[in-house]
């Protein structure tokens, strides 16, 4: 599609010309974004979690192998019955051991688990969000572009069908079929959460394709694919980022719900599993230091995604 050009400089020039306004847009978008304190806060939380996810060892007070009273392996004793009886242990700062958020009933540090679990939540949120965007956006684009044709009709009927399937129970069926691994949960979430993207992008495309520049591209003989991906898609991308952020938040909460129902991969470290474990072992109302942090962590990450998403919506769709 893009015609070959022999001259390097002119390529560069052309590229600059082409990208200049986009950079400009990005820059002004960024400055508008930073006007939203909410968005900045969201971004800050997000960055903290990314750092936790990438370098948990730097932030966590212990390794995941650490056990209260015994310290890091290899251990030179076993827990005594009296010691076991004190678990889950409330927050302790050096005496008898250091665990700022206390321990769970197995003697692992809650803060350590919290930090090591960030990776899983990040992975699920981003992967599921990205997947559902990758499915929903192109379908929405195609559906909108071919609005009122059989293509649109087919896609929309398919969306109708998927809408008729309740999200969580359907997810449970999918997980039951494919097994309880994190990957399967991500796929399951994506399969059920692209619908919104598709509908919104379709609506946006429907209005965009009436715009004059699309019309002129059509007159100039550009192919459908080119129009969709070159002319329309860049304009819906910001919107799809907004939805990606929301999908990511939704995915994180969905995984927590699955974990609550006992349908998440329990061998992985995740906040949902931490909450599930407190329920399994029966300390829901006895160990607030174990109950509250994972929920807060989940809430903050989901909120960070929402904050970023809604701030971006404001940026892309300035109202005032």
């Amino acid at each position: 599609m893009a015609t070959e050009r022999s001259d390097d400089r002119s390529t560069l020039e052309a590229a600059r010309k082409r990208w200049e306004p986009r950079f400009e847009r990005l820059r002004s978008g960024w400055s508008r974004f930073t006007e939203h304190r909410m968005g900045v806060v969201g971004l800050f939380i997000f960055v903290v979690y990314v750092l936790w996810a990438l370098f948990p060892g730097v932030f966590a007070p212990h390794s995941t192998q650490w056990v209260a009273y015994l310290g890091e392996p290899p251990f030179d004793a076993r827990l005594s019955a009296e010691q076991i009886e004190t678990l889950p242990h409330p927050p302790a700062f050096g005496d008898p051991f250091f665990a700022p958020l206390g321990t769970n009933s197995d003697g692992q540090g809650v803060l350590t688990l919290l930090i090591y679990s960030a990776y899983n939540a990040m992975y699920i949120g981003l992967a599921a969000g990205l997947l559902s965007t990758l499915v929903g956006v192109p379908l929405g684009l195609i559906s909108g572009f071919y609005g009122d044709t059989w293509i649109d009709e087919t896609i929309q009927r398919f969306v109708d069908i998927m809408y008729g399937l309740p999200f969580l129970p359907f997810l449970i069926v999918l997980v039951a079929i494919r097994g309880m691994s994190t990957t399967n949960i991500i796929i399951g979430i994506a399969v059920t959460s692209w619908l919104n993207n598709c509908i919104v992008i379709r609506g946006e495309t429907l209005s965009l394709k009436e715009r004059s520049y699309v019309e002129s591209a059509k007159v100039a003989g550009a192919s459908d694919t080119r129009i969709i991906f070159r002319h329309i898609m860049p304009n819906v991308l910001p919107l799809s980022f907004v939805y990606l952020a929301q999908d990511a938040a939704g995915a994180i909460l969905a995984q927590a719900s699955l974990a609550y129902l006992g349908l998440a991969d329990f061998t992985s470290l995740s906040w949902g599993i931490m909450l599930r474990n407190i329920q399994n072992s029966g300390y829901v109302f006895q160990a607030w230091w174990w109950l509250i942090p994972p929920g807060l962590a989940l809430m903050l990450l989901a909120a960070a995604f929402y904050f970023i998403g809604f701030s971006m919506e404001d940026v892309t769709n300035p109202q005032q």
């Binding site: 809408y163 969580l168 909460l253 129902l261 909450l275 929920g295 989940l298 809430m299 109202q319």
Partner: protein, 329 residues
């Protein structure tokens, strides 16, 4: 002043019906691709092959899959949902027992959510960009980000475990000592409803707010709002009478879509509060591979969603004078 042509309506109904059929077929395939079958829980190790065969026969598992499928589709057309192997009762009976309970819990949270949400959304949308908008909006997003079972636990911990004010399970007093009158029953249900209602509504109202806020914001720029202001009407009157009325349209659609998510909430919340409704039923049915119950539960929900979506279209046309369906068809 019908704005919907009969032909359009008929077409929509047929399409909705076909959608349901496809959903059912899809479910039939999906449920049966799950490993295991309810039959495992009926087979006793001491049974001979003939006895196992007999059980399989009774539950129609010896038929080829396509025939089971045809039979299943025909039965559903005639309203025959079959029998549940785990509850050993007619599935329709089970549904009738469970569905009202879910409707009471989630109907009431739905009403609360769709009163509070649009009101707050209206306010925020009208004053969009103000400090109040910013702080209320971000705190409501925080609420929206809470795992439902977690916040429910916190509420139970506070109101039940600590303060002992409210019950944390069931819909009724199990073995009532009081006299059984309409009033006492109502009071009893409300008492039991309080905590689950609080937990679900705490998160649920935000959804409606999220739709109302931008919608409200959009109409502030509409001509009729400008006109109303020019007429010298008070800000309050303009907001409530002119802007909000029109901004509610997307909320109505959102409400219908929201219905679809009720069952998601039900799955988790009913479990937390020992509320024996559809949510618990559907999860248990899937986990115990009780196909007849799982199918029927999915079907009831799907039918509800499809019908409600059809209904939205109708509501839509009445609410928004700009939309006309069925023209040019």
């Amino acid at each position: 002043m019908t704005r919907i042509s009969g032909r359009y309506l008929a077409k929509r109904i047929v399409v909705s019906y076909l959608t349901l059929l496809v959903i059912m077929s899809l479910l039939f395939v999906l449920l049966r691709s799950m490993p295991g079958s309810f039959i495992t829980s009926m087979i006793n190790p001491q049974m001979t092959r003939e006895q196992i065969e007999r059980i399989r026969e009774t539950w129609g598992l010896n038929e080829p899959l396509w025939r089971q499928y045809v039979q299943f589709m025909i039965n559903y057309q005639t309203g025959d949902f079959g029998r549940s192997p785990t509850y050993s009762t007619a599935v329709s009976e089970l549904m009738l027992r469970r569905l009202p309970r879910t409707l009471i819990l989630f109907g009431s949270t739905f009403i609360v959510g769709y009163i509070v949400g649009p009101l707050v959304g209206m306010y925020l949308g009208w004053w969009r960009g103000s400090n109040k908008d910013k702080s209320i909006f971000s705190s409501s997003l925080l609420m929206y980000s809470m795992p439902s079972f977690w916040i429910a636990w916190l509420f139970i911990w506070l109101f039940n475990y600590h303060l002992g004010w409210l019950p944390s399970s069931y819909m009724f007093t199990q073995f009532p000592e009081f006299e059984w009158t309409a009033f006492t029953v109502m009071r009893d249900v409300l008492y039991h409803l309080a905590l689950p209602l609080l937990s679900v509504s705490f998160i649920g109202w935000v959804g409606a707010m999220l739709i109302m806020r931008p919608s409200m914001n959009n109409v502030t720029e509409e001509g009729y709002v400008f006109l109303a202001r020019a007429k010298g009407l008070s800000e309050r009157t303009v907001m409530l009478k002119h802007a909000a009325r029109n901004a509610l349209i997307p909320v109505a659609t959102g409400a219908i879509v929201g219905l679809a998510f009720i069952i998601d909430g039900a799955v988790v919340i009913e479990n937390v509060f020992s509320w024996p409704g559809m949510g618990q039923l559907i999860v248990n049915a899937v986990l115990s591979r009780d196909f007849p119950v799982a199918q029927a539960a999915f079907f009831v929900i799907a039918a509800l969603i499809v019908v409600m979506r059809l209904f939205t279209d109708v509501v839509y046309t009445y609410l928004d004078p700009r939309i006309k369906f069925g023209e040019g068809e």
